[in-house]
């Protein structure tokens, strides 16, 4: 397992946002994280990304317990997050955005050629054909293209886990399909992917496993091959489905 969360807890004052959450993500798989608004999905992401300090439990990367106390720690471990608002700079071009803050230099000047070459290589390895000109400003790109740039930026740094927070929320139908195919390709190339979405179709289209959070607790982690839509809906809305979930006989990894 690349990343393992055991007994993860997080509270904001008296409010317990995450309670005793277990989750493991392996290289080469897409793990989807689903849950209603306020179930704790974004908080969990922020704990892994080093934005929130955890109050209990442990984060293990490659079998070693790690304390992630900032985004730089997360990046050093190969964990990259693509947020909903993408955090791209509109006035910079595609290559400049990809290397923003981590530019390659040769002597005292920027090594533009090397960066452009690497950018082109990364995009082609992801079979991205929608971005033709790497020197156009990001402001001129469509929503789907911007999402692609944001994802490519996360992949460029030998990252091993990419966390995507609602990457298709603001996209049209055709662009959503391209981003879904891109997410699948990331995992097929050996990355671990944690994918957060509200849309169950998108989840079923790419996920190998589906983890359902309910009121800050892990209701169940299912193999997508065995899961049905109604099961997942029940887990999201009531925290249990048949013998699965919180308080059920077979707790499937979630503690009552």
């Amino acid at each position: 397992m690349f990343l393992e969360l055991t007994g993860l807890s997080k509270r904001f004052g008296p409010v317990e946002v995450l309670s005793d959450v277990d989750l493991a993500i392996d290289a080469g798989e897409v793990c989807a994280l689903v849950g209603d608004n306020g179930a704790g999905k974004s908080t969990l992401v922020k704990c892994v990304a080093g934005i929130h300090a955890i109050d209990g439990g442990a984060i293990t990367v490659d079998g070693e317990t790690r304390i992630i106390s900032g985004p730089r720690d997360a990046a050093a471990l190969g964990i990259e997050v693509v947020y909903q608002d993408l955090a791209l700079c509109d006035n910079l071009d595609v290559v400049e955005n990809l290397f923003l803050g981590r530019e390659k230099v040769r002597g005292l000047v920027l090594d533009d050629d090397a960066m452009e070459h690497l950018a082109a290589e990364t995009l082609s390895s992801l079979a991205v054909r929608t971005i033709r000109n790497l020197r156009q400003p990001v402001a001129s790109l469509s929503g789907g293209q911007r999402q692609t740039v944001a994802i490519a930026k996360a992949v460029l740094w030998n990252s091993r886990l990419v966390i995507l927070d609602e990457p298709t929320a603001a996209l049209g139908v055709a662009q959503t399909r391209q981003v879904l195919e891109l997410i699948r390709r990331l995992a097929d190339q050996g990355l671990a992917v944690l994918y957060i979405s509200h849309n169950l179709n998108d989840v079923f289209a790419v996920a190998d496993r589906i983890a359902a959070l309910y009121l800050g607790r892990m209701a169940a982690v299912l193999d997508a091959a065995d899961a049905t839509q109604s099961q997942v809906v029940e887990l999201i809305t009531s925290g249990r489905s048949g013998s699965l979930g919180i308080g059920a006989a077979d707790t499937n990894g979630a503690r009552p």
């Binding site: 079979a127 399909r177 879904l180 169950l200 179709n201 989840v203 079923f204 091959a225 065995d226």
Partner: protein, 362 residues
């Protein structure tokens, strides 16, 4: 006639070397030695031999950046072996002349009007080139068995001896494969699916067909009439005479263009659109359940407009699949969309031709 063992071995090695270069592109002699597990001097002799016969050329490769003489790359000469590939659809015909190594040497496309016979159009589009090609392969949507199109919703053919008709029209022999099988071969050899031992490709055109290839090879009996699996007994009447076929139930005709709008409407809360997508997804999942149970593939590719349908209805498709297949069959099953898109069938038809050529060389 049996050949002496040494000659026989040499032939096999020649074929293996050419196939390696054809599939994986130019490489150094050292890489070839490793890939083919042959002796260095054997590779040297074979390469010289094949260079003399005009199949190979050795080029100075790029410097690897390390010290020393840059290594020479062995590459195949595209013009030395060629395959003519055509893909026939109800409304268009596409042709490519593909050279050894996968390079497309010629390429053209023509629209077909109602009433045009595709066979005559093939003779026109291939012109003089098809006659010179070492192998010619035609991909057609439908149930294909050994040169005969047993049934095709898209072309409206039943039991047509397509291979014979093509030969009559063009004056050369043709191999006939179904579009889905051709696309599966294409995705396996030139796409992203080479890890799949049993690859099932679903093709959505004017009808729905599927093709199963094993280790990238088309199989007799691997052509599957996906669209005529009955998913609703006693359901809607289908053009084929049965009731409740997948094709009839998801109203394949015209639906292809509608998926985008339906998905958009469903996203905005249109209950009828949601219902239509959910039902189509469930029907597709159920039909797939039957195919998966019968054939046990390890990867399924959703091609043609089924790509759009799958990505819009993945939840009902996979739910229905989970409810209709055995756990050990679905646990190792990967569901993906093709990377070659619309090109898959044409590329795969050419690759089918090359596979036949390499088989003959052995």
């Amino acid at each position: 006639m049996a050949l002496p063992p040494a000659v026989e071995l040499r032939r096999r090695n020649r074929a293996a070397l050419l196939e390696q270069l054809h599939r994986h592109g130019p490489q150094t002699r050292a890489a070839l030695t490793e890939a083919l597990e042959l002796n260095r001097s054997t590779i040297g002799a074979l390469a010289t031999d094949l260079a003399e016969s005009g199949h190979l050329q050795e080029t100075t490769g790029q410097s690897t950046g390390s010290a020393g003489r840059p290594s020479t790359l062995v590459a195949c000469v595209p013009q030395s072996i060629t395959v003519a590939a055509v893909e026939i659809r109800a409304d268009r015909l596409r042709f490519a002349l593909v050279g050894l190594g996968g390079e497309v040497l010629e390429r053209s496309e023509t629209a077909l009007e109602d009433g045009d016979d595709p066979m005559t159009a093939v003779a026109v589009i291939t012109g003089g080139t098809a006659g010179d090609a070492d192998e010619a392969v035609a991909a057609m949507p439908g149930l294909v068995d050994e040169g005969t199109v047993a049934h095709s919703t898209e072309l409206g053919w039943v039991d047509r001896d397509a291979a014979a008709d093509l030969e009559a029209a063009t004056g050369r022999e043709w191999q006939v494969v179904d579009t889905a099988t051709a696309a599966a071969v294409g995705e396996w050899s030139r796409g992203d699916a080479h890890e799949a031992r049993k690859l099932l490709y679903l093709h959505g055109g004017r009808g729905l067909t599927a093709g199963l290839v094993i280790e990238g090879r088309s199989q007799r009996g691997g052509s599957i009439q996906l669209g005529h699996i009955v998913v609703e007994p006693g359901g809607r009447e289908c053009a084929c005479g049965l009731r409740g076929c997948l094709e009839a139930e998801i109203a394949a005709f015209g639906f292809a263009e509608d998926i985008e709008n339906t998905t958009l409407a469903a996203g905005m809360g249109d209950a009828a659109a949601r219902n239509r997508l959910r039902r189509s997804g469930e029907d597709l999942g159920r039909a797939l359940g039957a195919v998966v149970t019968a054939t046990g593939p390890d990867e399924i590719l959703f091609g043609g407009w089924l790509r759009e349908l799958y990505l819009s209805t993945a939840a009902p498709v996979r739910s229905a699949l989970a409810e209709t297949t055995l756990p050990h069959l679905r646990s190792r099953l990967r569901l993906r969309t093709p990377v070659l898109g619309d090109e898959g069938a044409l590329i795969g038809a050419a690759e089918t031709g090359f596979a036949a050529i390499f088989d003959r060389m052995r």
